[in-house]
């Protein structure tokens, strides 16, 4: 048994931390709330570091790494609230790779940026493949691929849709089977949705008779795997943000004094920060589970990734609130970074089915196996 990071994994993580430290991403996250143009374009960084091809096989020009390595990079991005379009790109790249699509080499290089237009796989309650509605709690049908090869449908809140070059869309075919369709940006209408967390690029995506290329050899198992890959990447990104929130809060609890002693010596503060640590440790353990299941235990990947997503969502929610509380009133103002982590937590937990659906999926998987 060995769950320690390998030398290669440590190197990947350290290199990601180093590369992202050259850009003032947290400051940009604040500025971009008023001026979206202030957000730095980190795609060149991703290209240079080879993250675009992380999950593409070596035969197709990628690095041929696995989900856990992608999670390590996502955690580093989350740590500094960096807005890199990997949540959309990585699952899409793995599907293009599986299908051997002609664009995969350019996608692996980062010359083309891909966007995964995800659909949630059926569970024991919901039998359809569903996507996010523009508002409300009722999920809607995935786009439909007609027999003439045209794609119709609308998907809201798609991560990293604005500016993508190629969209990998989960749709249902005329006979009701789930399929993956690659669509060029020219054929897609993307309405940019800048909301709450300015570092999170989101778009409402519409297909009105778009010409799609059916990805061969990609069926329900691969599409489900891509959905749960996205869940685990989002979880990893949240883990990174939790770690920063904890470190900043702990540092302040040591240096801020009230009634003659450091506030970190009070149990109320100390126990709250230990709770953040507990949720952090749980989430990291579940990311290991997800990374292991992705490679060696495919039957458990849905459970592992959903558990990681659920744990990470709760962890970041708690950590960002604790960060605000520990810092007192200033923590709730723009003078401090805490609101940026809070905004990140609030929006992240509601994307891609939300933390609620992930938690339900954990129950669903366990009940179905019982």
């Amino acid at each position: 048994m060995n769950l320690e990071l390998t030398d290669e994994q440590s190197f990947l993580r350290d290199a990601a931390r180093e590369a992202l430290s050259r850009v003032k991403t947290v400051a940009a996250a604040r500025e971009a709330l008023e001026d979206p143009a202030a957000l730095p374009d980190l795609w060149p960084t991703a290209r240079e570091a080879g993250w675009a091809g992380l999950l593409v096989s070596e035969d197709n020009g990628g690095a041929g790494l696995s989900a856990f390595e992608a999670m390590l990079v996502m955690a580093e991005a989350g740590r500094v609230l960096a807005g890199i379009e990997l949540l959309g790109h990585l699952p899409a790249s793995s599907l293009l790779d599986a299908a051997g699509d002609s664009r995969v080499a350019a996608v692996a290089e980062g010359d083309l940026r891909a966007c995964f237009v995800a659909a949630q796989p059926p569970g024991d309650l919901e039998r359809r493949w569903t996507v996010e509605p523009p508002s409300g709690s009722v999920r809607v049908d995935a786009p439909v691929l007609a027999s003439d090869g045209t794609l119709r449908g609308r998907v809201a809140w798609v991560p990293d849709a604005p500016g993508a070059d190629v969209f990998v869309v989960v749709a249902t075919s005329a006979d009701g089977e789930p399929v993956a369709v690659a669509v060029d940006a020219d054929d897609v209408s993307v309405e940019r949705a800048v909301r709450y967390d300015a570092t999170r690029s989101l778009g409402h995506v519409s297909f009105e008779g778009a010409a799609g290329v059916l990805l061969e050899g990609v069926g329900a198992p691969e599409l489900a795997r891509a959905w749960f890959l996205a869940q685990s990447l989002l979880a990893a990104e949240s883990l990174g943000a939790v770690e920063t929130a904890l470190a900043v809060s702990v540092a302040y609890a040591k240096e801020r004094f009230t009634f003659g002693r450091a506030i970190g010596s009070y149990q109320a503060v100390k126990h709250s920060l230990v709770e953040v640590l507990r949720l952090r440790e749980n989430t990291y353990a579940l990311l290991l589970y997800a990374g292991w299941a992705y490679m060696d235990k495919p039957d458990e990947f849905a459970l592992a990734a959903s558990a990681a997503r659920s744990s990470a969502g709760h962890a970041l929610d708690y950590a960002s609130r604790a960060m605000i509380s520990v810092h007192g009133g200033i923590g709730a103002t723009w003078e401090h970074d805490a609101p940026l982590f809070f905004r990140r937590a609030q929006l992240s937990r509601r994307l891609l089915g939300g933390v609620g659906d992930a938690t339900d999926r954990v129950a669903s998987e366990l009940l179905s196996a019982a």
Partner: protein, 404 residues
Amino acid sequence: MDLNDTPEQVHYRAKVRAWLHEHKDEAPAAQGEDDAAYVQARRAWQGKLATAGLAGVTWPVELGGQGLGPIEHVIVGQEIVRAGVPDILDVIGVGMLGPTIIAHGSAEQKNRYLGPMLHGDEVWCQLFSEPAAGSDLAAVQARAVLQDDGSWRLSGQKVWTTNAHFAAHGLLLARTDADVPKHKGLTMFIVPMDAAGITIRGLRQISGEAEFNEVFFDDVRLDADAVVGGVGNGWGTALTTLMFERLTIGLGSESLGYQAERYAAAIATDEHARLDPEVRRRLGELCVQLLAVKFTGYRMLSALQQGQIPGPEAGLAKVTTVRAAIDAGDLIADVLGPDALDAESEWAYMISFLPGLKSAGGTEEILRNTIGERVLGLPPEPRLDKGIPFSELRAKERAGVAAT
């Protein structure tokens, strides 16, 4: 990332499995009545496990152990669960007290006590906690006074003593000098449980069962060679035991049965509940926690395999396990109704057991203090007991009570 056994571990596991397969018919039931006959059967089974090398796996070879690592210890534990046979009876002795004697005991003590302990011929109990010294263990008041002939006279009370009613010996932390600060005036002793002046009384828990005892000492005579690790060194000796306690709990958690799959199976039998969104949310949330604990356990094993010793943060897994299991008991009882609380139910014992488990091995609050200070590096609470002789501290405490 690798959860598989190494080739050596595959070989070791196969060997263990083969022995258990061959001998499992000789084992008593995994659970039994708390009577003398069952205890005797469990002791005999421990003897067989020890002879086969399946007890004291991590003990040094020259002291009767196998000289192997924690991974092999865990493999044996997993195979014992798999075979459906009971583990050794004296987990506290072999897992915690024996290793303390190995670390701090004299050559004579090792020769005299370790063999019979390992084979279940003599069961041991841990005499540390007191009614007023639990999380603050260094506040023990049981008093051992040195006599002119070099022997000691012991008086006081211990509590939460598992197995005391059939133990041959106990490892006891006593105050031998009240005129120095509290951590300094302590000494560890080996106590023969059949000595004159010892009274043992069962302590019934919520479930009605008495798994713990109170033990009273009234002027009990201890020989000079009963001291373990030197007079005045009791605190350091106790820390060794507590380190092994953490390890024993951490590595043994799989056999507690607090598992996501088991709780899901209970809910799955109810056709209505399994479709109820609120039930599913509660089940999902608690199972997320239990799955996290399972992989935290693997992380701990992995760290041990790399030669690291688990730090205090390992205690967080206990916090998570107990909380999630409490939530599971609540949810299952909400779904099944009062039936779940019936003595015959699979769940009543667990529901009754968990509130106490929350404080076992240190309360959740003291764990959070320790982890906050040792792992996060947060400053400690101001302490009123630092550097003050224990006798003076007690006088202050009494004055404080009188003033209210």
